[in-house]
């Protein structure tokens, strides 16, 4: 990114995660499953689960979801034989009748979330599916909204939002800037 601007530093990210964890528990209690969407949603879901267990003293179940096979730009819609790499889907328990929180780092067009909902319902019939995102950057292309939002960031369409999580990136924080290589 060119001249990335810090919008959430490490301490800010920590406070945001604690607040998001509290909002989730306030809304649905601790009998929930957090499901992180690859890539950054996976460590974020683990981080949220950790905050929930620290504040409520209960362990919440954490899964991970690969939405690639459900994306609206894979298969026939890709340039010839250039398909994205698949990642692991792991749901530690049945999702039937559960309240599921999909967790992702950035909510942008909403296409990822659409694919995530479709992926999830092929595994069962949850009681409810909710969405928790660290950053809502606007520019929705589908009628999708988050239930729990860490931070709303005003962005231009061509700007890039970069979320870093200590356990995968070795640093924590959120930056925006003009994109160099698109990662979405």
């Amino acid at each position: 990114m060119v001249n990335p601007q810090l919008v959430l530093d490490e301490a800010g990210l920590e406070r945001t995660l604690i607040r998001m964890a509290a909002e989730i528990v306030e809304r649905d209690g601790d009998r929930i499953m957090l499901v992180g969407i690859h890539t950054r949603g996976v460590p974020l879901a683990r981080q949220l689960a950790k905050r929930i267990s620290e504040t409520c003293g209960v362990e919440v179940v954490v899964g991970r979801l690969d939405i690639t096979l459900y994306r609206d730009d894979v298969g026939p819609w890709r340039p010839a034989h250039k398909q994205p790499l698949l990642k692991e889907t792991f749901l530690p328990a049945s999702i039937d009748g559960q309240v599921i929180y999909l967790v992702d780092d950035v909510l942008f067009t909403g296409r990822t979330v659409r694919a995530a909902i479709e992926t999830l319902v092929d595994y069962g019939r949850p009681k409810a599916v909710r969405l928790a995102v660290l950053v809502d950057r606007g520019h929705r292309e589908l009628p999708i909204a988050a239930d729990v939002v860490g931070k709303v960031v005003q962005t231009a369409r061509d700007e890039d939002v970069q979320v870093k999580i200590e356990e995968v990136d070795g640093a924590s924080g959120v930056w925006i800037g003009k994109e160099v290589a698109h990662v979405g």
Binding site: D66, Y70, V74, R78, H81
Partner: protein, 319 residues
Amino acid sequence: MSVEPASALSSKDLVGISGLTAGEIQLILDTAEELLEVARRPIKKVPTLRGSTVVNLFMEPSTRTRFSFEVAEKRLSADTLNFSASTSSVSKGETLVDTARNLMAMAPDFIVIRHPNSGAPHRLAKVVPASIINAGDGINEHPTQGLLDAFTMRRHFGRLDGLKVVIAGDIRHSRVARSNAFLLTRMGAEVRFAAPASMLPLGVEELGVKTFLRIEPALEGADVAMMLRIQRERQSNVNLPSAREYFDFFALTPERLKLAAKHALVMHPGPMNRGVEIDSSVADGAQSVILEQVTNGVAIRMAILYLLAGGRGESAAHS
């Protein structure tokens, strides 16, 4: 030897292992690993290839491979059309290329072909725009079988590099042996062919494998024992006196299996002739992964279809 997976396949077709790089093989195996999970879901289907059409063109008898492809295609939501030699115009004298051109008028995205002539898929790949997947051509290659065999080994040992793999039986007529030899040597495994001299192919040295005229020394310390069927249909004069004699000298029996490593896997691409190349108790024993090979085959074929897909949105692609 640790191989980085390629980011994509470089060809529109899968005609043989010999055209794949180690990185491409790694990509296919990694993709299959994730696709295995689809079979364990309550809904064993993903929408990825909806609207795509696959023609399964089988000019030779096949049950396992044809079913395996069909299941893979359906799990990816593709539409499938099945042509077999006995019901198609091929039996009325139409050439392969004419058949394929007619099929192209139905706009398939993939043609899966099994053909008695070596090189038929390569020929087809040059004349039609669809992705051609070789499901076995003559005595040349059977790439998806080679991939599923390697996938099965990698799932058990966590690697291919350094494995000692015995392939025993009618190697001369075996496209499975050829695809396995190309693949395993490329990935750093040691391949040992064990067969009577009459069943070893000419030019076997070029494959980079070790050859044995008896099975016992080949099995010494082996990690995998892969038994092949005697292909009577491909032999002009059957090169063995009797099935009984073959069993006595070459079959995998419990005693012979003891020569291999304790953890050795027993594999067979099927169809299996019990009491000819393999003893029943070994085929059904604790070390046998023969049925796992079948399950893994579906995931490998899904991976190939997935990785070869694309191109329709070329003009309307969104980033």
